[in-house]
Symmetry: D2
Subunit: 368 residues, 4 copies
């Protein structure tokens, strides 16, 4: 066969004139005042270390799940497929980048410094040249990451394989913290939440992260049901670009999301809840001793509200469930206040799926 | 036991101080220029005829499914539960109204004139006193409905029990049409679509409707999967109130929705599609002989696009699927136009789930 | 119109020659040795008290959800629709019965004795004539139920509206227990689980029940997702008929199911878990220091297994998730036992969604 | 750090003592008399050609979806990742095999002969050495496949990129057929069904196949909803091993499944339908001019039954829907046969989602 014709035909049938990229699900979480709310996963693997997918598939998965930013963070020291796959440490990033650009996914260049405990596994993000982190000692790797201006966080600090009995903060972590080589910590990794890591984040002033650490395909690991998806880090960024992401991470403007729960500092969770929800007086159902409101959830996160002590004493004994993308009606009986336009009544509730510390939840008020 | 105490306790445990009304799912269909897009079901039954639910449950169901307006239309002539249930023909409306007001559902007072074919079953909406339609002859019932200013439509015109062999338009329907006693027609009823009725609607200038004719509970009849819901009528109203609904129905500003398909006049379907979707240039993936766009669907309706003849000849051989609440990326190869900012290319597609007649679909253009 | 013709037509279009009854979902829970495993809901309401559906719909709902037996238990003392609905206390049962017979649902005649606390609300099942329970005092109602041979249980004992501060067992309940007028207790009602009631059931030798207490439609209250359904009582019956059900209830052969959790006595939960699951050696993956098994779940209940202390010390640190209708593969590393056909290794796990008391879970073993 | 210690720690944290392999969903399709019903996908890609996943992930995906047998069939001629991935043509099979053995998935060694039209793309299964098929001409490749005893089928014969205007059977295909080098044909590929290919299969006596041709991850391409999964080939095998699969393929004992539809020869579809469903007399609802049955679907395939002409004339005007894993009740009115135990009535229906040719459906009878 004519070689040129062959090539033409080949290119024809492998590249249709119009190509379509999956479908990006809109998992809506509103922006908050002054900041974009970006959804990020800063811990993923590909066949270039021990992951089971090609780098471009990580981009497509992120697009499909509605994420805004991801990091591909292959292990530096652990590459079981070395006999079959190119071992250039920068390669997975290079392959993923054009696909990321095409789909508008922000791609962070990163790597996993994979060492035994202490200090355990850590991710370094915003690197220039990953190969320089392939050093003899772990401390040299951290030093090099620092030179490259990396944002560094401790991965799965409660991972049972490395911390079998209890979760320990080692002197090595203190050293890293003092040296400015430890900026954040995973409060959620894969399918696990570490309360201890959350406490450390607050105590030691670290950035809070939730990442998937995905090795297989995202959809085979999560998506057992319609609301099942990977954990992600909410990033409150001033700009929708890599600089905005890095600034937010360095500045601890994040929250962790997994399995319907949000973990973060109270100030950011409050802004988030207020952006996600809205109250409206239901005039038609108010009056005659009743005050009624509509409470709307604009976001894909469901919220659970439990009455505070005072509200409970006033008879508000039931919990409130506010599903994603929905409105509920709430009617309060106010005996003896049938007609007069009395002042508003504020009732305090706890949002029991928004954790401001391992032991406390966000407080909010319903206004009747 | 002290009687007063008993009453107090009773009232206490049957009326908690704060009550919650289900959750209204936000099935988003955007408003179109100059009109609210309301979702309505104008054909439902309760235990006051042969339905299996109390009137207030019809309101709650409508609220849960995200509808804006419903009519309770119990049979006038067929009341099998007459030995057990009050037979006042206005009663189901009276019971439903306070619940509708409380939840912000617009409630239309209506009834089903239930006669053998011809003319078959018809719904009269916006009635004042239903009992006056309980007449000897069907024509008297229509006359009375007319006196009350009703909007009248033919129910399930292709119903096999009444039209077993083929679907027939009788002289009686001509008479009703001429007399101004027939304004609309059900193109979808329960789970069935009638192409013949759709053709008549266009030919005889009737309002297009899709209604559930629900007898059991909505959720046990539909909701076999996450996207399964009752059919509904899209009403393009100038005001979000009963007057707005009636004007829209009388003015034929409607479309029928069921099972992912939309049936309606081309002018309204075009406005609807344009309000539901948006295109954006994907600059990062354009250039070098490629033009790329993002196509977003803001609505809960999924769309299917099939290339027109010309587009197909140009190599655009694949169909496009645009799921609800999602964005897709489309990249077009434009050989020989690598650099220059040439004029936009318009490609024609058919939206195959938007029917502008039984045999034709809405045309739209993608702009590259 | 000729009256006879009218009737014929009428009957024709309202009764098609072939009618279909919904679809009964097969939520599979296997029978256990010597007993049928029946799924029952013994607490439901209709429009004949304050429920919002017609009695036949309760039967259809039970059929659709795959239940085997239900009781319609309208309030005796609380009938807010009295002005619109027949007040004969036996009527809802009479209406439901033919539909139950048609669909093979076992229908228990029952009623709710609806009194303030103490003793609160109670259900009496297997009654002959409900109207005789409409007495002045609650104790007379219990006496009459006893005369009719009823199985009697305490409803929602932790209901906040009746037990606002804490959950209290009153002297009146002792009296009922001693008199043989209290046989069972709801451990789950609607969407709430009462640990206190579970403890009482074990301590005072009462039958364990989980019921929906449904007032609206089942599908609008539950079914927010594919695995969401009403609570039900598992009844281990020697016969698949009403006598079998009554004997099992009286003999305390039950367990409570809700939201993926099972609550019951250890002996029955063990039999149930063993009937639901099966282990099989995976020869192909065994050997070379590994032992591998397949663990299959034949049932619609998902199970969660957490390693016991000993297993944990042996390195089995991870939890096991065994979804409904699925098989998982488990591989154990056994260093130094590469070849020899050594004796089986038994590892103890807790089934954390099967509660044998408020504080303990079923223990089971995996055999490698 | 001590090197040995490092290794030990490393092995510890990367290999927990007990490992779990996903969860295999039981998509139940019963065996038929004398044959196992196996679910197979004979067309998949990995990173060793242009797929986006590692070979072991293909095995895990098959296990998760409940398949029994797959072939990894990387392109021989098209390997865009050649700079990064080992180019040994037998390598993807070698990597996948241990995982397949571990999970009990039957793994067929195969490859895609990737040539322009004619003859287009073809899969050769049950190969010994794929590298020998990397020949200059396509006919040499087929000859070599024949020497290795391969089962060969034509892939996506209606693929628009290769057959843009219409679907053509070329003289080259005749030649292959005569030479015994073409045994089967894909009637479904990826998400497309080819009626023309189905007609050819029947006309030219070819094995019917449905395959995914998956390049990305299975779950990101399918699984948009709970019943969405890849197409698969039903293989009716005498043995549950590779020999059984090959014999069945060679002997044309297959059917194609996709998107709720089954395509196959009438004899096999009849056996399949009979194995999937069961009828039972409903005595309680029979008599008094009625005959009632329960119709149960034991399988994960839903069925749709439409009355034949005779049944329709007898008044059986409604279609029947029989969802997966469910039972429906059907009641027939038989006027004038109230009491006598008359002979059974057989009513003919078409199973409209089981295609015995592009234009015809399986016929079945309901027995009342």
């Amino acid at each position: 066969m004519n070689r040129l014709l062959f090539v033409l035909l080949f290119s024809a049938f492998l590249s249709p004139a119009l190509s379509q990229d999956g479908a990006r699900r809109n998992f809506h979480i509103p922006d908050i005042a002054g900041f974009y709310t970006l959804k990020g996963d800063f811990h993923t693997h590909t066949v270039f270390s021990d992951g089971l997918v090609w780098p471009t598939l990580r981009i497509l998965e992120a697009w499909q799940e509605g994420l805004d930013v991801i990091a591909v963070t292959d292990h530096i020291e652990y590459r079981p497929f070395r006999d079959d796959v190119n071992q250039d440490l920068n390669r997975s990033y290079e392959i993923a980048l054009p696909k990321a650009d095409q789909l508008g996914i922000l791609l962070v260049k990163g790597a996993e410094i994979t060492r035994s405990m202490p200090p355990g596994h850590s991710n370094a993000l915003f690197l220039n040249d990953i190969s320089k982190l392939d050093t003899e000692t772990w401390s040299d790797a951290f030093t090099e990451a620092g030179k490259q201006g990396a944002f560094i966080f401790w991965n799965h600090p409660g991972w049972k394989a490395q911390q079998p009995d209890t979760t320990i903060w080692f002197p090595e972590h203190d050293k890293l913290l003092v040296d400015g080589r430890l900026h954040g910590i995973e409060v959620v990794n894969y399918k696990e939440y570490y309360p201890k890591a959350f406490a450390w984040a607050l105590e030691k002033d670290l950035t809070i992260l939730a990442n998937s650490d995905i090795h297989g395909s995202i959809h085979s690991e999560y998506h057992s049901g319609p609301s099942d998806m990977r954990p992600f880090t909410l990033v409150f960024a001033r700009e929708r670009n890599l600089k905005g992401v890095k600034d937010a991470l360095m500045d601890k403007r994040t929250a962790a999301y997994y399995n319907g729960n949000v973990y973060g500092r109270a100030e950011w969770l409050k802004k988030l809840f207020d952006a996600c929800t809205g109250q409206e007086v239901n005039a038609a159902a108010s009056g005659n001793g009743k005050r009624s409101i509509f409470l709307t959830n604009y976001s894909g996160i469901g919220f659970y509200l439990v009455p505070g002590e005072e509200a409970r004493r006033a008879g508000l004994i039931y919990d409130i469930e506010l599903p994603p993308y929905s409105t509920i009606g709430l009617t309060l009986k106010v005996p003896g206040q049938n007609e007069s336009p009395a002042s508003a009544i504020l009732l305090e509730y706890s949002v029991t799926n928004m954790f401001t510390s391992p032991e406390s939840c966000l407080k909010t008020s319903l206004r009747f």
